[in-house]
């Protein structure tokens, strides 16, 4: 019997190695796997590369992971947030590497990784600092730059519903990066608000099929807070 549901945070985090690339879903505090980030803090892996839309806020979650010196590099589109004090301090002190990526390019790099597309051309960033050092090609009269897939060793995802096969649904704007992070990661770990019996999620309503999911932890925390 396939059962991807794990009963403890320790089981959810087991085996995450130092030096891993971690893809972190979420946008604002909506659909962000906060419990799993806390689990990763507890688990202890270090020298991490973290890809996320933002670079953390306040002194909790991703910001706390960075504050503890566990993140070597952050890949994101928008390192500013309502309270980016931890990231800005580390960045000014040269203690963290930053790769800034346009938001659509980061999303497509993650999607491409999940779909087996190693590289792709995009018009986004042509003529800007983002294009420096990248291969340019003119295709049908328009100039494009070459971007590479962004694979995760680990993907952290927040779902609304999950079953023991790892089929997932998401709630409203909580979907954001979650489905593509699940696709692009070798080890996809999900925290889910609800656990459903196998067959109880209508097949037409599954947003992420279980093939993209490795572990599911039940975390019924309720609604996202303010951000």
């Amino acid at each position: 019997m396939i059962d991807k549901i794990v009963l403890s945070m320790a089981d959810a985090m087991a085996g995450i190695e130092d030096g891993s690339t971690v893809l972190l879903a979420g946008f604002g505090s909506v659909g962000q796997p906060n419990a799993l980030i806390d689990g990763l803090i507890e688990q202890g892996a270090k020298d991490l590369t973290v890809a996320a839309n933002n670079a953390g806020s306040g002194h909790v979650g991703l910001a706390r992971l960075m504050e503890l010196g566990r993140v070597r590099k952050i890949v994101c589109s928008f390192p500013r947030s309502s309270d980016p004090v931890v990231f800005e301090t580390l960045y000014k002190e040269g203690k963290i590497e930053l790769e800034i990526v346009p938001q659509g390019t980061i999303a497509e790099r993650i999607r491409a990784a999940g779909a087996g597309v190693p590289q792709f051309f995009t018009a986004t960033g042509v003529g800007t600092k983002m294009a420096v050092g990248k291969e340019h090609r003119e295709i049908d009269g328009r100039t494009y730059i070459l971007e590479s897939a962004l694979h995760g060793d680990v993907g952290l995802v927040e779902a609304w519903e999950a079953d023991r096969w790892g089929n997932l649904t998401f709630k409203l704007a909580g979907r954001n990066f979650n489905p593509i992070v699940a696709m692009a990661s070798k080890l996809t770990i999900v925290q889910s608000q609800h656990i459903r019996a196998l067959g109880d999620i209508d097949p037409d309503h599954v947003h992420t099929p279980g093939i993209f999911v490795n572990r599911v932890l039940h975390v019924p925390y309720g609604d996202p807070g303010s951000f």
């Binding site: 659909g31 390192p79 990526v101 807070g225």
Partner: protein
């Protein structure tokens, strides 16, 4: 000295809103562009998109009706109107990068008369610059309009011959709504299509680095 009356922020948003026809799919940037939606009546069906996978946004919710799972790219609570939908981030940016949006409206630091836009960083050594979705929107939407003040607070021109700040995208701005004028970006450069009440072309040119043209 007030020989003319600049458009205020509400009027700038209204000026842009008046030019959006029914049926367009539109992404509005943070700041004055967000306010454009307030001036498009619900019965003129314009479908507003947000980068985080929200399509078909309605008016802002009353405090007691906030849905905590529904925010826009500016992290504000929003609503969906009937017919609205949700998708994931890569599909949302496929709408942008695949040329499916009829219009994007952004703020900017500078716009050049060839349509170049600089709106994400004010210098080359900005600490931790944040680009978000601006480059995708500028390069990907079918047309890009900008809403911004005509000059900086200290009076420097923002409509220029060449952007001095780092570019967001090249040659893509089609129209600019400022507090002084509305201008099209054409093969000839900036063409003035409307001016604030009482303003003369000479007066406008004095506040603009790039050469201004009148409609042919």
């Amino acid at each position: 000295m007030s020989d003319f009356t600049p458009f205020n922020r509400v009027q700038m948003a209204k000026n842009a809103a008046a030019d959006i026809p029914e049926g367009w799919y539109v992404n509005l940037g943070i700041g004055i562009p967000t306010a454009v939606a307030d001036h498009v009546p619900m019965e003129r069906e314009v479908i507003f998109h947000s980068e985080n996978g929200v399509l078909g946004m309605g008016p802002a919710p009353a405090k007691e009706n906030i849905e905590p799972w529904l925010i826009n790219a500016g992290k504000q609570y929003v609503t969906l109107r009937p017919g609205g939908s949700i998708c994931h981030h890569a599909d949302s940016f496929a709408m942008i990068r695949g040329g499916h949006l009829d219009l994007c409206v952004l703020g900017a630091f500078q716009v050049a008369d060839n349509g170049d836009i600089a709106n994400w960083a004010t210098s080359d050594n900005d600490t931790a610059p944040a680009v978000g979705g601006a480059m995708d929107l500028a390069a990907g939407a079918k047309r890009l309009w900008v809403i911004m003040d005509h000059t900086t607070k200290s009076g420097e021109a923002k409509l220029v011959t060449k952007c001095s700040y780092p570019l967001t995208a090249m040659a893509c701005v089609k129209r600019v709504y400022t507090n002084l004028a509305t201008l099209d970006v054409t093969d000839r450069g900036f063409v003035v299509v409307a001016m604030a009440p009482g303003l003369t072309l000479e007066n406008l040119q004095a506040r603009t680095e790039a050469k201004l043209h009148l409609p042919a």
